[in-house]
Subunit: 248 residues, 2 copies
DNA sequence: CGTAGTTTTGAGTTTTGTCAATAACCGTGG
DNA sequence: CCACGGTTATTGACAAAACTCAAAACTACG
């Protein structure tokens, strides 16, 4: 592929063409020319699992599209209790424009590839492009919806329902390398979180998470090998376990 | 005050001038001319406590600024378990542009005054005014921050900490009629929620909420009369009770 | 193979939930 | 002003769910 700019300046950069985020992510709002400009200031970077990208009370110095892997956003109480408040999967957009008063810690849960964009550059960009701003508003509203959905899980579900809901959530969002299965749920995947992280996402203890997983395993709903590798055997039963009716 | 339009068309409508939302709410982003246009299609309306403004899975047909009172947004599980996912106080903006896939029920918790704007009108407005869109994005991001903050309460705090956190939250947000006290927290106020609603916001049962309130009362941190009327006696102790360290 | 880190399992305790009874509050009408 | 009925809140006794602490099993990796 040549690098010649066509007269209109609307060529889509090579890098962005391959990028998953091109279709569903924030960049989908951009014109070819804008993409080219964005591409100039953005940077593809890889991080190993369990890297702290950014700690408390500091502004993240860049925005990013998650291209691969899972990011966890968490909050801490002063005595160390932790709550994971969001997981971000590809092609989610990561970052908080207009600076954040909320103190969040941003860590990679698995190996992660990001397309990073320096904060400053992105914010001028945002001011120029109403399309981008609308896209960002839409994505933020969706995140808000999902966060509220998870509040129901945290506040009102039992340990069993929480664990089942977590597995379903992962099955719905995770990307499995060379899987041609693009149905609604992945039935086979590796958990991107340790038991401790799962507990911190679900508002439970490690032991409770482990016990509930064991029960799901023993009742034949799923299989777990090597701690992380999950196969969902009975999807309907798992979906049912996300919200069990008292009666019956 | 005369009603003559000045040459520039930038007069601020009488109604909006008085409106609380004028300063902090969504309308602060508007120019005088825009306010006038918005004012033509908006409508001030009062609702008694415990009115369902909008039920599940329907789009709210209007947007609104909350001028007075408290709105609760809640979600239900199929067996009736309820979780309140947000409380909206004046001058919050209420509504979900671009339609919502999430099924929310919107009810008044107290008597409420709204400045309503028909959905259609607001959305064309939004498309025209980048300032409004940015304002909306900012407010949505703040809501997301607050929701995440509350997730920590739901997932990781004890019953006592939850109840204390709730009281502090109310003290920080509620408007008290003819109070000249504009400090950070109102020390005297009426609870806008029943014990049942408090329980549904905190992920607890009514009985647990009641017991924790009794304990706070008996330890001299606050007084409660007529069920709803709260006086905070020892604010520091209450703030401390929001996040208690294991040690000690 | 051995070691460090994770996960699972067990036993006992604590917190919170459940069920049931009592008490307080609110509006209405005598 | 007080009595009444309906609703809402409190309290108690008990049960269940989830947590804590401790030990054993598994996994990954040198």
């Amino acid at each position: 592929m040549t690098d010649n700019e066509p007269p209109g300046g609307a060529r889509i950069p090579q890098l962005c063409q391959q990028c998953t985020a091109r279709h569903k992510g924030i960049c989908g709002a951009l014109t070819g020319a804008e993409l080219a400009r964005m591409n100039k200031i953005s940077d593809q970077r890889k991080f190993p699992a369990n890297t702290t990208l950014y700690g408390d009370s500091q502004d993240v110095p860049y925005f990013a599209n998650v291209l691969e892997g899972v990011i966890k956003l968490s909050k801490y109480l002063s005595d160390g209790r932790q709550q994971i408040v969001a997981l971000q999967f590809a092609p989610d957009f990561m970052g908080r424009p207009f600076s954040s008063s909320s103190e969040l810690s941003v860590e990679t849960a698995s190996d992660v590839t990001l397309c990073t964009i320096p904060r400053r550059g992105f914010e001028t960009f945002l001011a120029d492009s109403p399309g981008l701003q609308e896209r960002l508003l839409r994505q933020t509203l969706i995140e808000l919806d999902e966060t509220r959905e998870w509040m129901v899980t945290l506040g009102r579900k039992t340990a069993r329902e929480k664990v089942a809901s977590f597995l379903v959530r992962i099955a719905a969002h995770i990307q499995v390398p060379d899987s041609d299965d693009d149905s609604r749920y992945q039935l086979v995947f590796d958990l991107p979180l340790t038991r401790t992280d799962m507990a911190d996402f679900l508002g439970l203890t490690v032991e409770t998470v482990s016990r509930q997983l064991s029960k799901l395993r023993k009742s034949g709903i799923l299989e777990i090998t090597h701690n992380r590798h999950v196969e969902i055997i009975d999807l309907d039963a798992l979906l049912g376990a996300c919200e069990e009716t008292a009666a019956a």
